[in-house]
């Protein structure tokens, strides 16, 4: 099963998203959040992101979903500092944070592959609410 890591500048946002998703999927998918910095400030933390990716890592891969632009950089740095063999199985989705996360976790719960999980997350971008 593809693991999912949610990276947010705010720990509360990340944990709120996790709470909502786990209520929907009953914790069937490996999901971790990296919210805020290690000293509890707003921001993103490369080491924390890396640690969370490692936690959900399997050869099926890991999809990272970020909230705001600068989280992309931290996530990229986290991925780059992993072992080469694992690195190719970890990708970042260009997706809205909450909708993308929910879609990705659902798709992963069906046992789909990393590329399909990423596509499901990114498809949430085209969604009209009204």
């Amino acid at each position: 099963m593809v693991g999912i890591v949610l990276v947010s500048h705010s720990e509360k946002i990340a944990m709120g998203a996790q709470e909502l998703i786990e209520q929907m999927t009953k914790g069937s998918v490996p999901l971790e959040v990296a919210g805020g910095t290690s000293d509890a400030r707003l921001g993103t933390d490369v080491n924390l992101i890396m640690e969370k990716i490692e936690k959900v890592y399997s050869p099926s891969g890991v999809l990272v979903i970020v909230d705001l632009g600068s989280a992309v950089m931290s996530a990229q740095m986290a991925i780059e500092s992993m072992e080469e063999e694992k690195r190719k199985n970890v990708i970042i989705a260009d997706a809205p944070f909450l909708e993308g996360a929910i879609s990705a976790v659902m798709e992963s719960s069906f046992g789909k592959g990393l590329e399909e999980v990423k596509s499901a997350a990114e498809a949430a971008k085209n969604l009209n609410k009204l």
């Binding site: 209520q23 929907m24 879609s103 659902m106 069906f110 949430a124 969604l127």
Partner: protein, 88 residues
């Protein structure tokens, strides 16, 4: 192809949790499955599609499935909806 109509009768309609149950049930089958209401159509395997339909209690929706396991898929979804998702 199998087409069935079913009324959504649980109190809250297809909000997040019931929608998630629909998508997870649909995801177990290989068939292409859609939910339809008026002119709107949702892929039953896409959570955002199903939630976006905004289906309330009392709405009749059409379930359409096509594939090798279409009958099982539609039966499972109809049972889930008619059983009110084990909620009120």
């Amino acid at each position: 192809m199998i087409v069935r109509e079913v009324e959504v009768t649980n109190k809250a309609g297809l909000h997040m949790r019931p929608a998630a149950q629909i998508v997870q049930t649909a995801g177990k089958y290989d068939s292409q499955i859609t939910l339809e209401k008026d002119c709107r159509k949702a892929n039953a395997k896409s959570i955002m599609d199903v939630v976006a339909m905004g289906i309330k209690k009392g709405t009749v929706i059409t379930i359409r499935a096509e594939g090798d396991d279409e009958k099982e898929a539609v039966d499972a979804l109809v049972n889930l909806i008619m059983g009110n998702f084990d909620e009120e």
